[in-house]
Symmetry: C2
Subunit: 355 residues, 2 copies
Amino acid sequence: MEYRKIKDEDKDEGSAGEDIESLRNKSLSVPLSNVATLGGGSSDRSKWKRKTIVTLALTILTSSQAILIVWSKRAGKYEYSVTTANFLVETLKCVLSLAALARIWKNEGVTEDNRLSTTLDEVSVYPIPAALYLVKNLLQYYIFAYVDAPGYQILKNLNIISTGVLYQMILKRKLSEIQWAAFILLCAGCTTAQLNPSSDHVLQTPYQGWIMAIVMALLSGFAGVYTEAIIKKRPSRNINVQNFWLYVFGMVFNAVAILIQDFDAVMNKGFFHGYSLITVLMILNHALSGIAVSMVMKYADNIVKVYATSVAMLLTAVVSVFLFGFHLSLAFFLGSTVVSVSVYLHSISKLTRQR
Amino acid sequence: MEYRKIKDEDKDEGSAGEDIESLRNKSLSVPLSNVATLGGGSSDRSKWKRKTIVTLALTILTSSQAILIVWSKRAGKYEYSVTTANFLVETLKCVLSLAALARIWKNEGVTEDNRLSTTLDEVSVYPIPAALYLVKNLLQYYIFAYVDAPGYQILKNLNIISTGVLYQMILKRKLSEIQWAAFILLCAGCTTAQLNPSSDHVLQTPYQGWIMAIVMALLSGFAGVYTEAIIKKRPSRNINVQNFWLYVFGMVFNAVAILIQDFDAVMNKGFFHGYSLITVLMILNHALSGIAVSMVMKYADNIVKVYATSVAMLLTAVVSVFLFGFHLSLAFFLGSTVVSVSVYLHSISKLTRQR
């Protein structure tokens, strides 16, 4: 019921409903009734610019993330506990949000939109995404009984479809036929790009594995869409306030994850066992990526987020050719072609619909 | 210059320019200026029906063609000479066209549109497609010095792109952005569906192989588009007259191919050496497919032909699962998904453009 409330409130705030293409249309001076209340063209252009910057930041941070992971494996140092690292990522994001808030308070003073003390009614929605991610991460341990790691990489692409379905169901923003076609292509293209000679094993996944993969995709899609709903619920609220609460609960739930999964290891070997310079870089990168995700949720939407992370996956592979001498497969070229067409179709879909 | 003449004449005959989607729009009562001169809705519906039937016939015949090939290989009988079989295919098509004409003459009498004696000026264009196919088939022997057979199957998908390019250039019917996106997806999807663990070899094709593959794709695309231009040059001319001339020259050029490639074998072992029941079925199937191709060229276009043969390729694989116990790969599912989205995008593209 809690989330239905958010959704309904969100619908009333129509101005948050437009996305990157609507604004692009606006700048191309196509008349658009749904953004007509937003004000002048220069304000729209600055919003479009902000969306582009956060989207690019997310793409670059996500692709460098994967490169850091490959690098850390190459350096043979992957000995730290993932749950402690996740906890530190949340802590760092929390500290960065607070630092940003402190600066804002100093410059602009404390206002209704940037003050931290909020009502229980408002704060109570923030734990939900963190809880969903916790459950999803725990499930991840069990799915490996049914699927191997490369197979899991392929099944993860179900996220794309679940995000689209939940985005349309929960946020009630209808995707056009062409946007749906583009989304299905994005999923097929990403999967194709990841194909390798052993990929067919994934077809032998037992039904338990499929069910878990689908549940995980739904959990992660739901967490993303729910976060967008929370953040867009009050568009005027400063993003750092919203992030602070999201990340505080992220810390809490990751602390729970340490207790469940790595309590003995942390007790015996210490919290920072196995940490290296690369681990620190990875934590820094994850924290910045996390903030970029929030920004994309606020200034664009989950659809843009999915495109950014998918394109980042392809970028990583191309960069790895130069950094690590990886070979690109024919499947990668074909998948990239399909993803590119998907991005193109998504970008023209709104324009086409209006003709 | 010959072909420019055809093209210009073709442009004057605007009514031949509409395609299957335009007519579908018409039946959905979307106003369409370019078919307004065609007459009543019932005539459009019967034309749409005719296009659908010839397209389905081509799809089914093409997919059963591939199944017959697999079957003939399974039966271990693939000993006949391909050039003699091709010659018989052309002969059979020629005989069938003549038989159809004889019936028409008996029922309707000889008219300007169904009589065979045509001027040199008109007949002289018919040898060109047959000559192009001959050159292409000869090149096929040389390309195997650079590419293996599975690699050649993959490179053959370049036909899709060359047909699109030449269709737009020569027939001057512009494909919309979405139609182009759909066409690129068709090529990527077909290639993905054909991927196997050794497919990456094709990336090591030397530049001579690439050049030959591109030249072959252009020759085959050009032959197709040129045939469409010839057939559509005079829309009122009976298709059997046009086919008769196409197939007569097909016989001539296939006789040349026998002389070039299989003269010794035919002389020593005889013309029908290695023929079996399956060979006869294959010849019958090829002849009917060839006639269906001509029909699609007359009543639809090369774009529809490419879609029909691509979908047939996927159908063949699915049918082979039941007939021969083939296993479908993940790549096949992904490729089929992309092809399906491509067909969908193509079918909605005209509708979208008109809004």
